[in-house]
């Protein structure tokens, strides 16, 4: 379709988020056990996506872990970015993708990441209008932030393994944006 050809593709990697108001932009990412939250305000015409992997046990909001705070931080950056571009919190709607089972690590990190995202959105009162999480295979994801259309392609077994292995490499530990504390 012409719309697809004209679209400007913006790829998002782990730990990133993007907010756009241009209807010709399609946000893309590749997910193994990582999760991407796609949020938009249909009225304001603004949307965005983040991409995160929380290491270890992050399913409980009040476990007080650094991992949880990191995930909340990435969600907050995305939401703040949307609000700055005119979105309203009560109009936000979300789609959640990713969180495939990781054969490589014999753990259910993917599942926990997806559960974290769902729990977060529930707690914040943000409507989830679609999701595709879990499963054996990774995903290639495309999201049109203004229309809210999302399309995903399953990765092959080998691609999934490569993606998951790459996701594990950088220790996705909480990274403060800059020197964390400033003493006056």
């Amino acid at each position: 379709m012409t719309a697809d050809i004209a679209a400007r593709r913006v790829n998002i990697i782990q730990g990133e988020y993007k907010v756009v108001t241009d209807p010709n932009v399609v946000l893309t990412t590749i997910l193994g056990s990582c999760v991407a939250a796609c949020l938009r305000d249909p009225v304001a015409g603004v949307g965005g996506m983040n991409h995160f992997l929380l290491p270890g046990n992050a399913q409980s909001m009040t476990s007080g872990g650094d991992a949880t705070r990191y995930g909340v931080h990435l969600m907050e950056l995305l939401i703040n970015g949307l609000l700055k571009k005119g979105a309203r919190r009560d109009r936000l709607e979300a789609k959640i993708f990713g969180g495939a089972k990781t054969i490589a690590t014999f753990s259910n990190v993917g599942e926990q990441n997806a559960a974290f995202a769902m729990q977060f959105l529930r707690d914040e009162g943000i409507r989830v209008v679609g999701s595709s999480t879990g499963g054996e295979f990774g995903r290639k994801l495309e999201f049109w932030p203004i229309s809210g259309r999302a399309r995903q392609y399953p990765l092959t077994g080998a691609e999934t393994q490569r993606t998951v292995a790459a996701e594990q490499k950088p220790a996705a530990a909480p990274r403060p944006v800059e020197s964390s504390i400033e003493f006056f």
Binding site: H73, N80, G125, P174, I181
Partner: protein, 129 residues
């Protein structure tokens, strides 16, 4: 009674999840008197009615943001002496300088660790235990 137990803390953040995490971190540090507000306006209302010793406030909020709240707290005679720590999700130098100029006692960048929160509070109040 430890110092932490004596300090009345008001946390101000528009995200439910952030409020949960903040109050959880404070509880782990030994704080017992914790109140929460969802935006600057609500925070100032609580402060005016019942002053707290320490305000830990997010920057980015609807209605009244963290700097607005800081200004309101500093200009109200009954609340102006409260310690004020501002949280920021974006590492923004200009914001840090503004907060400092308005009389914030410290800045804590998100995502914070419990240790960093402890250090930020102790920089203002001295050792908690």
């Amino acid at each position: 009674m430890s110092l932490a137990e004596k300090i009345k803390v008001l946390i101000v953040d528009d995200q439910v999840t952030s409020r949960l995490l903040l109050s959880d971190a404070l509880t782990q540090l030994g704080f017992k008197q914790i109140t929460a507000a969802g935006d600057g306006e609500q925070g100032m209302k609580i402060m005016a009615e019942q002053p707290h010793h320490l305000v830990i406030s997010d920057f980015n909020m609807p209605k009244m943001d963290g700097l607005g709240l800081l200004q309101a707290v500093r200009t109200n005679p009954t609340t102006k002496k409260a310690a004020f720590i501002i949280l920021t999700a974006q590492g923004d130098r200009a914001l840090v300088q503004k907060a400092q100029a308005l009389g914030a006692n410290n800045v804590l960048a998100k995502p914070f660790t419990i240790e960093k929160m402890k250090a930020a509070i102790e920089a203002v109040f001295g050792a908690l235990k």
